[in-house]
């Protein structure tokens, strides 16, 4: 398990995935034409017309090799083995290699190519898997096909491209959904795949020393809600509304005609919400809670509401149809946001501070209390369980027995290797001053002892799994069995 690899002179490789039309080729051409002083060899998925001085552009036809008698976790790209093998046969190595996959490619075999072959392990350093996403179409693609989800799951860097074609609310929703699949990738919003080149090259995502620069929010405890805001509300009746972007001024006059609590206006005028509901159908409504908050500094006052909010969200909550009324209470309401322009009454008996806690980010629904602005707000890590592919992060300070860890990881790779796309971890081994760091792609595994822990107090196990049908309890129980 303690596998030391030669780290000198390895040529970094970036794998570029993304659907046709996502902007993958635009990014590639930008990288090739930018004056970065690197000699780059590009392996394209077809014979392109890109020809740049001193850069080698090679057309390749993706060919999947199943080795070890067809074990799906041991599939590699045969064409890459051949072409990269050929590129090694020179004294002046290329500075960088980029591998572009076809739109429908599963990134697994590409990544595994760099793990399976000993010679490749010595010669190449898989730097990062970069996935380019067309923001305008990604939701539909995620709903209809398995490949886009896999490409998101495998990514170290995600370009959420073509953001000029979608609204802010939609972007928030997409980003949340991407986060639910892949909790650790760096996400950049781009137009025309335009971003500083260092965001995608020399990222060091597979560098064990930098293995776990995980967004800390992903490792935070899970909350059943994503947003909370603190409001100062005078006594009286307020309006809680949804609909479009909050700065959008929609004509809501037709609401006047409905007094039975049912709204039936059509929602065709909000074409940017067409894809709504695949991800969160909300048949039962959007869960919200309205809690009395204390005085004092506003952020602290909001923080004090989190505990009561967790308790409130544990309750089933009552359904409120459009036009219904909410009051401050230690329970949740499930408000009907099935269409745009829903509205609800908020009855405040006593003027004061109130926390509105919402299951999903309000910006997605344009949810707001009319005439009131939050004096403090906080976002919480989103944890969705409705994606087939998801990320699970585990943290625990307890030291681990290396043999037990080895047994568990071996078992996990054998039994769940096909479903686990990526895994990374920094582990505190009992009696070992250095951090044990590992990463894996399917069953391919690489780990070693790295820098020492700065202090015993800093020892913390951090493990991240990205995969299909992952079971948090199973992973947690397995990891807990490794404690020394």
């Amino acid at each position: 398990m303690y596998d030391y690899m030669a780290t000198t002179d390895r040529v970094p490789v970036t794998v570029l995935t993304g659907f046709l039309g996502s902007g993958k080729t635009t990014l590639l051409n930008r990288i090739l034409s930018e004056n970065h002083g690197k000699r780059i060899a590009v392996i394209e998925n077809e014979f392109g017309e890109v020809g740049i001085d001193h850069q080698l552009v090679i057309g390749a036809e993706e060919e999947i090799f199943e080795t070890n008698n067809g074990c799906i976790c041991c599939t590699v790209r045969g064409d890459l083995l051949r072409i990269l093998g050929q590129l090694l046969k020179r004294r002046d190595k290329f500075d960088y290699i980029m591998v572009e996959t076809t739109g429908m490619a599963d990134p697994g075999p590409v990544a595994q190519t760099f793990f399976l072959d000993d010679e490749f392990k010595q010669q190449f350093l898989l730097d990062a898997i970069v996935t380019v996403i067309d923001a305008h179409h990604i939701e539909k693609h995620l709903d209809e096909m398995k490949e886009p989800g896999e490409q998101v799951a495998f990514a170290d860097v995600i370009l959420l491209n073509k953001i000029d074609l979608v609204g802010e609310a939609e972007l928030e929703r997409i980003e949340r959904r991407i986060r639910a699949i892949n909790g650790t990738a760096k996400i950049f919003r781009t137009r025309n795949a335009d971003l500083p080149i260092e965001r995608v090259l020399d990222v060091g995502a597979f560098d064990l020393d930098r293995a776990l620069a995980v967004d800390s929010a992903f490792l935070e405890p899970q909350y059943p809600f994503e947003w909370a805001g603190l409001y100062e509300l005078p006594a009286g009746r307020h309006e809680l509304r949804t609909g479009g972007d909050t700065h959008d001024h929609h004509d809501h006059h037709d609401h006047e005609h409905h007094h039975d609590g049912k709204c039936d206006h059509d929602d065709h005028h909000h074409h940017d919400h067409e894809h709504h509901g695949h991800d969160h159908a909300h048949e039962g409504g959007l869960a919200v809670a309205l809690l009395s908050a204390g005085a004092g500094e506003s952020t602290a006052a909001l923080a004090e509401c989190i505990e009561p909010a967790v308790r409130a969200f544990a309750e089933e909550g009552s359904q409120i149809a459009c036009g219904g009324t909410l009051k401050p209470a230690n329970t949740t309401y499930r408000v009907d946001v099935g269409h745009d322009g829903s509205h609800f009454h908020v009855e405040i008996a006593n003027a004061g501070r109130y926390a509105l806690v919402v299951e999903h980010a309000p910006i997605e629904f344009g949810l707001r209390i009319e005439g009131a602005k939050p004096i403090a707000e906080r976002r919480f890590a989103s944890h969705h369980h409705d994606e087939e592919i998801s990320s699970i992060g585990l943290t625990d300070p307890r030291a681990v027995d290396p043999n037990k860890l080895n047994d568990w990881l071996s078992y996990l790779l054998k039994s769940r290797g096909a479903d686990i796309f990526r895994m990374k971890g920094v582990v505190s081994i009992k009696g070992e001053p250095r951090r044990y760091v590992f990463h894996g792609v399917h069953m391919m595994f690489d780990g070693q002892l790295e820098r020492p822990w700065p202090a015993d107090a800093d020892r913390m196990n951090t493990l991240v799994f990205i995969g299909r049908n992952l079971d948090r309890q199973e992973l947690e129980a397995g990891f807990h069995s490794c404690f020394a």
Partner: protein, 343 residues
Amino acid sequence: MKTPPALLEPRGKVAIDDYIVDIAWSTDGSRLAVAGGEGKICSIENGEGSLAASEVGSHGLGALAVAWHPKNAMFVSSGQDCEVRLYDATDGNVLVRQRPSKAWTTYLAFSPDGSQLASAAGKQISIWNEQLELQHALPPLEGAIAALAFDKSGRDLAAAINGGVVVHRLEAPRFPVRHYRWAAPCITANFSGNGKFLATGTQDGSVHFWYLATGRDSQMRGYPGKVDQLGWSGDSRYLATAAADRVVVWDFGGKGPEGSSPIQLSGHTDRIECLAYQPRGSFLATAGLDWRLSLWLPGKFSTAIDAHLTDSEPSCLRWSPDGRFLALGERKGKLSVFELVRI
């Protein structure tokens, strides 16, 4: 300890200033053609104790293969510029240039009588005449070709692909095909000289062979990694393979290798990169990342009978067709020629 029956005597060295990826000998052993990974094609004269190299061309960013015509003073080269070229070996002039494919032509093989040249680019095999005129483009195979070899008679052409070895009988217009299937990425194709066997090494660490008469097949497993170096002894009794730092030799004498343990030859201390059995002979040469060139006589000696240190990592090893000379190419561009001297 028995006295070794032969030694390798150095006969010259020359620097090519390129990573040597392929070497081809003229039939009489008087000349060589060398392909460099950064593009160079060189013609080399194997004089009395000295080598004289001249650069005859370049294939842009990289050369891939060279092959010498079995009878005439001509050789061919291919490269990453996607060209295949025919040279006059006497003056190094390019006689013909072809661009058979948008893919790299990675393998070149002349039929034993020299009447046909086979080339492989991606999934495509092309058959050329001696003037490098295209005669036939065979239907594309199921996968990209990883090795190309004629049998001794020149009638059959084997191509290794993912999933087996495909053998074409070179009879126009039908080019009957036989598939020797094996569900693994096959990366070499090696006919035995006696026409009885076809062997292949695989990416996933095994050697597979077929009895050509019956199609019956057999597998040898247990290799630590891909098996890309295979060679038959001249009498077809031994199949030598490289497994990490050891030479593993299967004995096809008697009842054959099935159920038997192979001969294992130790001596290298790092991965064997090149392995070449002497044509029509019984001496085996290997070169490894331990910068060592070793000479073996499998079946008779269990240790190397001679060894030489190289100047850098070896990258290519080729016997002259008459089995008298051995050329060693290195990653840093050194080309050395040794003569096998009987004692």
